[in-house]
């Protein structure tokens, strides 16, 4: 008797159907998780315990994995240094000549700039604190571009902090646990960063698409950019400081303007995390909240157009005559402004595109 005609063959159908049901249940679970995912919210609660736990576990594993690879890379670079020493020396000499000219220009500009600041009484931003971190993991697929850095909440890192390499902006912190933080790169599909073209001051949004060169979206004006223009952060929205180097504008194969990232030419081992969340941290919140509107009074000194009539000061028996007297008007309490008049607008807390 052939095997397929045996009674055993009847077992095949129920198991296949059961497997199909299991597949449907698993798919429903996956869709439900996808719909409830709030990764892009850039909030501590949205990042979730599961992600924090995985990051915390993955960081030491990544360090162990990366250690021999890093040592091998350093060894190869050491050997390669001998082979390319002559060409490297020529290139560096040429670069040094150029840099000397730029140094003179920079000194002259700094002097001019200092004088302008003095004339205008311009208040400059205070220096931002930063922490250095080692990258222990690097995911670079088309659907997610992120890195794990071994500095977290214990070093003051918070969600939203900008991350730099030695050459330029790398991305932003989207998740933090005890000693690890996850950095979403500028190339990530969900990354949106306000930038400007250095030459024309034209604004744009740098939008990642999973490829190595993110796009410049929403460029305005006639010929706002040309190939080779330097691109830097604009500071618009207040979530990233102005003037951080991003890269150089290039024309993509699809005809759109893209950016060759400056951070791509730097080693990816180490990053600097700016402990900067938004411009609100530069202001004194307490002082801002104490703003009081000036008193606005009608002809009748006892009535105000901002609120109920101010009660007249009760006459008090004349005290013993002091050495100096205060006019009665100066003792009248100023009416308090409505609470809404002193509220400060909150800047948007994210550059990552939220799903609509």
């Amino acid at each position: 008797m052939a095997f397929r005609e045996s009674p055993l063959g009847e077992l095949k159908v129920p198991l296949t159907w059961t497997a199909a049901v299991a597949l449907v249940v698993a798919a429903i679970l996956a869709v439900a998780l996808l719909l409830t995912d709030r990764r892009e919210a850039l909030r501590e609660q949205a990042y979730g315990t599961a992600r924090q736990t995985v990051d915390t576990v993955a960081a030491p594993v990544g360090q162990v994995v990366a250690a021999p690879v890093r040592a091998t890379g350093q060894g190869l670079a050491f050997v390669g240094g001998y082979f390319f020493a002559v060409s490297e020396n020529r290139r560096l000499r040429k670069e040094l000549e150029d840099m000397r000219q730029w140094r003179d220009v920079a000194i002259a500009l700094r002097d001019t700039n200092d004088r302008y600041k003095t004339l205008l009484g311009l208040k400059t931003d205070p220096p931002l604190p930063m922490v250095a971190a080692r990258v222990v993991s690097d995911s670079r697929g088309p659907f997610a571009n992120a890195r794990l850095a071994d500095a977290g909440r214990d070093k003051g890192v918070t969600i939203g902090n900008p991350v730099l390499s030695e050459r330029g902006l790398v991305g932003r912190v989207v998740g933090v646990s005890g000693g690890v933080s996850r950095v979403v790169l500028l190339t990530d599909i969900a990354s949106r960063t306000p930038v400007m073209i250095d030459r024309t001051n034209a604004r744009a949004i740098l939008a990642g698409d999973g490829g190595p060169n993110p796009k410049l979206d929403y460029l305005r004006g006639r010929d706002p950019v040309k190939s080779g223009d330097r691109v830097m952060t604009s500071g618009d929205g207040g979530v990233i400081p102005r003037g951080l180097p991003v890269g150089v504008a290039v024309k993509g194969v699809d005809g759109s303007w893209r950016v060759q990232l400056a951070s791509d030419s730097a080693p990816i081992d180490f990053v600097r995390i700016l402990l900067f969340k938004d411009f609100a941290q530069l202001a004194n919140e307490t002082e801002l909240r104490q703003t009081v509107m000036p008193p606005v009074t009608t002809e009748n000194q006892r009535e105000s157009i901002l609120g109920p009539a101010v009660p007249a000061p009760t006459p008090t028996p004349a005290p013993p005559r002091p050495a100096t007297t205060t006019p009665p008007a100066a003792r009248t309490p100023a009416p308090q402004a409505p609470a809404t008049a002193t509220s400060r607008p909150t800047p948007p807390a994210t550059t990552t595109a939220p799903p609509q």
Partner: protein, 171 residues
């Protein structure tokens, strides 16, 4: 014919071990290094066992392990939760659906089948990402990851070859 011919597979050998190997390989390839200034490719190692499990035989446990593997990738790579879980399940389901036509074919045909399944998984990931981020991922980046993934066929074929005959009910 006795029931002993329908020997059940040991889940540790054909399910759990490949799952762990795929996840370990993913962690290894996430090391932050560049070779001559170029990034390492990032293949989806999990697609090889997901394909092989469906070819070997239908199982109740396998879809849930595929789900688990996908969620682990999402957590580790930092993508939207459920992206790779759904993509791998689509690949697993498509393989399961077409296995009666394709099992027993030559290795070349199996490779073509695997390549089509990988393309389906990547297309699912592409669509889900488009809906999630409201932006189209780079096709070149998707193609690069697709090519890095289909070269993993020997690992999938080795797994199929090893366990395909273990349960003769589904040959």
């Amino acid at each position: 014919m006795s029931l002993s011919s329908a020997r059940p597979l040991d889940p540790w050998r054909w399910l759990v071990a490949p799952l762990l190997l795929a996840l370990i390989a993913s962690v290894l390839f996430a090391a932050p290094i560049r070779v001559f200034g170029l990034h390492l490719p990032e293949p989806v190692f999990a697609l090889a066992p997901a394909f092989a499990w469906a070819v070997i035989r239908p199982a109740v446990l396998a879809p849930f392990l595929v789900l688990l593997m996908g969620l682990a990738l999402d957590l580790f790579w930092g993508g939207p939760m459920g992206l790779w879980a759904l993509s791998l399940l689509v690949a697993y389901g498509a393989t399961l659906f077409s296995r009666s036509m394709m099992t027993g074919q030559s290795p070349v045909m199996m490779f073509v089948w695997y390549a089509v399944i990988c393309a389906l998984a990547m297309a699912t990931g592409y669509l889900v990402t488009m809906l999630d981020a409201l932006a189209a991922p780079s096709l070149l980046a998707v193609l690069w990851q697709y090519l890095a993934t289909i070269v993993l066929f020997p690992f999938a074929y080795r797994l199929i070859d090893r366990f395909e005959d273990a349960d003769v009910r589904f040959r």
